[in-house]
């Protein structure tokens, strides 16, 4: 089901956990070395700079191939009109080419999140989307809905087979689009139920993603599920944010609002605009859920901006100063309060596992050669933690 070597992917997660335990002295040098040896990965996983470079160059190569192909066809057709299906055919051809190349690269070069695979996957998805858009008529009423429905299976397939976070984000957004466009068809009633319907859908997505995330057999897709969770939380908030509702009522439902006039149920939405981010922050702290905490903090800022937009006093500099003072106070008192750990929350910095590993590289090396004498070596040639040239980034070295 997964294109990448599944064993390596489990190993990455396992070694990551083991590093955390090792950095907290829960396992010994020898055990860490054994884990690294037994659960190694052979993926080509370069440094971030190179990933970016590979992504850009692969994308350019694909575009140039498209240009070359198109120009070649135009020249070869010798001034004759190309048929209407030419663009569709081109898209299918190139999507197949990208997917073929991707599979070949993954199988032979063991690339994993290396920039090349992402670029090929997104190009393929782009070609599929263009193909869909070319093949449906340009009638604007249903075009968007049909293309979303047609595109969705490809996005889902991409997120499952290539464990791609961005594809999964777009899958969720695509589902939202379909849902939204269907609801719009209901006519007048859509106007009333839209915010609540989107909130219910988001809550459903959130609960599903959260439940599935716990399952150990879905471990490779953990990041995809986390991404889905984030999108659900954000859309939930956006669908009850006062500004969003007011502006979208005007945009999509032709509601006419004079300045100072309120939308129906305004107080409910004011309340939700202010309270939902705080609930997120609270839940994040209570459940020790960093994602919820971060999104909550971000949305607090958006909530403040929303209120400032409608109830501005016209003195941004005073607002800035006061906001600054409040934030400094919040941080200061929280740090004071957390002098000793409370409710499972600490102000101590997390141990940097990779750094710890690096400072203990020598001990590990000794332990490894020692353990090699004890056990029969399975893989005689093996490097510590897939230590690529450049390692965790050249920035690290300097």
């Amino acid at each position: 089901m997964i294109a990448y070597n599944q064993e390596f992917i489990t190993n990455i997660a396992l070694v990551k956990k083991a590093k955390q335990w090792y950095a907290r002295n829960l396992i010994s040098d020898t055990q860490m070395a054994t884990i690294q040896k037994k659960h190694h990965t052979d993926f080509y996983n370069p440094n971030l700079f190179v990933k970016i470079g590979l992504f850009i160059f692969t994308s350019i190569a694909v575009s140039a191939a498209l240009g070359f192909y198109t120009l070649f066809c135009f020249t070869a057709s010798n001034g004759l009109e190309l048929s209407d299906s030419f663009p569709i055919f081109t898209c299918i051809f190139f999507a197949a080419l990208c997917i073929g190349g991707l599979e070949l690269f993954i199988r032979n070069k063991l690339i994993y999140r290396s920039g090349v695979d992402e670029a090929l996957l997104y190009s393929a998805l782009g070609f599929i989307l263009s193909g869909i858009l070319f093949s449906i008529d340009n009638d604007s009423t249903n075009g968007m809905l049909i293309s979303s429905i047609l595109f969705l299976p490809f996005l889902v397939a991409a997120s499952i087979r290539y464990i791609d976070t961005i594809a999964s984000i777009f899958s969720v957004l695509c589902l939202y689009t379909i849902f939204f466009l269907f609801l719009l068809k209901l006519g007048d009633i859509a106007k009333l139920i839209m915010p609540f319907a989107l909130m219910i859908l988001s809550a459903a997505f959130y609960i599903i993603a959260k439940k599935q995330k716990q399952k150990a057999q879905l471990l490779p897709w953990k990041n995809c599920l986390i991404a889905a969770e984030c999108i659900a939380m954000i859309v939930f908030y956006l669908s009850c944010n006062y500004y969003v509702i007011r502006e979208s009522s005007i945009e999509f439902f032709d509601m006419e609002l004079a300045i100072g006039q309120d939308i129906p149920l305004a107080f409910v939405f004011y309340f939700l605009t202010a309270s939902v981010p705080l609930v997120y922050v609270f839940l994040g702290l209570k459940n020790k859920d960093k994602i919820s905490l971060w999104i909550g903090l971000l949305l607090v800022a958006i909530a403040v901006l929303t209120f400032k937009y409608y109830f501005s006093l016209g003195h941004p500099e005073i607002t800035l100063t006061i906001a600054g003072i409040i934030m400094i106070m919040v941080a200061y008192f929280s740090i004071r309060y957390l002098k000793t750990d409370k409710h499972g929350i600490t102000y101590k910095e997390d141990i940097d596992e990779d750094n710890f590993l690096k400072t203990h590289a020598e001990a590990l090396l000794v332990a490894q050669s020692f353990s090699q004498q004890v056990h029969t070596p399975q893989q005689p040639e093996n490097n510590l933690g897939g230590g690529n040239f450049g390692g965790a980034g050249s920035g690290d070295k300097f």
């Binding site: 396992l14 396992i27 884990i35 190179v50 800035l320 600054g324 101590k348 300097f398």
Partner: protein, 335 residues
């Protein structure tokens, strides 16, 4: 394959700690400890609170800054200058008190605030000189001197306090003094690279900085500063040479010079195992080579030329991708 699939499937269903226990890497006692740790590990809000604090300071200072700007008439320039100078002196006093003795090696400071406070002191000093010059013309029309003076102070402080951030300020100041602004974003916007004088100045400055970096590294004087120097030098030299290649005649000369720079920095990247310099050299070299290629085929002003262009882009990008996948073999680097 199916047997392995099945195994992996079973394997997935276990927690990591259980897998290790089953593989007899950890014992039952450790399994219990690890599981208990996973259950009870605290969540660190260190970065969250830090971020809120920094953003708060940022908002507060910008708010106060705007308030001061609006009320400059009632407060007066002298009061503000005095305030800046006082804070600057306080920062430097703190740095002087808490400094460690100078050494050619890298010095690590215990206090997490030391770096920030010293940097703040230098930035405040720069602001002070700039403000003073703007308001009272202390250096008259000797703008060069007004830039060179803080630059000298920055260089001194960077070595005195062993601070790479201040060193970057110093290098930017040096370049500004040479008639350029080299903050990364303004590198292309701020400089008029169509003038030969500026190109030559940039190349000369780049060469001086690169040679100084080389000297520091061989003589072992603050070796870790070499990255900052080389980072400025490679960008400066490459952009200036590319500009010369695009704008002026004697293209083969510029091209060869660019090739030399890339060659030097690829060597450097291999020696110090730095990916950044490898990537920068390859990208700058690629830009130059592509320009040279298109400059040559521009004479085929027809469809064949365009098709060759597309083919070149496709093939060269694929070549670069393969280079980065196989660079170890190509450059002869062992793991």
């Amino acid at each position: 394959m199916s047997k392995q699939d099945n195994f992996i499937h079973l394997y997935y269903k276990m927690k990591e700690s259980e897998k290790l226990f089953q593989d007899e890497i950890i014992n039952a006692e450790q399994l219990a400890t690890i599981n208990e740790y996973e259950q009870s590990k605290p969540m660190s809000v260190f970065w969250e609170l830090r971020t809120i604090l920094y953003l708060g300071v940022l908002l507060f200072t910008s708010g106060v800054g705007i308030l001061i700007y609006q009320n400059i008439d009632t407060i007066g320039h002298q009061a503000i200058l005095g305030l800046i100078l006082l804070s600057c002196a306080a920062c430097f006093y703190y740095g002087y008190k808490n400094r460690l003795p100078y050494s050619h090696e890298q010095i690590k400071f215990e206090s997490p605030f030391f770096d920030y406070i010293v940097l703040l002191g230098c930035i405040l000093f720069g602001i002070f000189i700039g403000y003073f010059q703007y308001q009272y013309f202390i250096f008259g029309t000797h703008y060069g001197l007004a830039t060179l003076f803080p630059t000298a102070v920055f260089f001194f402080c960077s070595y005195f306090f062993d601070h790479k951030g201040i060193l970057s300020l110093g290098i930017s100041g040096l370049a500004a003094w040479a008639g350029l602004s080299v903050t990364p974003l303004q590198l292309l916007e701020g400089n008029d690279f169509s003038s030969l004088g500026i190109i030559l100045t940039a190349i000369a400055l780049g060469l001086v900085i690169a040679s100084f970096a080389y000297y520091s590294e061989t003589k072992n004087i603050k070796k870790h500063f070499a990255f900052s120097y080389n980072n400025f030098a490679i960008n400066m030299l490459s952009v200036a040479t590319l500009a010369a290649l695009f704008e002026f005649d004697l293209k083969p000369l510029s091209f060869l010079f660019l090739a030399g720079i890339c060659f030097y920095y690829i060597k450097y990247a291999i020696k110090y195992q730095s990916f950044l310099f490898l990537l920068l050299s390859v990208i700058y070299g690629y830009i130059g080579f592509t320009y040279a290629f298109f400059n040559t085929i521009v004479s085929f002003n027809n469809e064949l030329g365009i098709m060759m262009g597309f083919f070149y882009v496709m093939a060269s990008c694929a070549g670069i991708v393969l280079f980065f996948i196989f660079y170890k073999r190509i450059l002869g680097i062992k793991k």
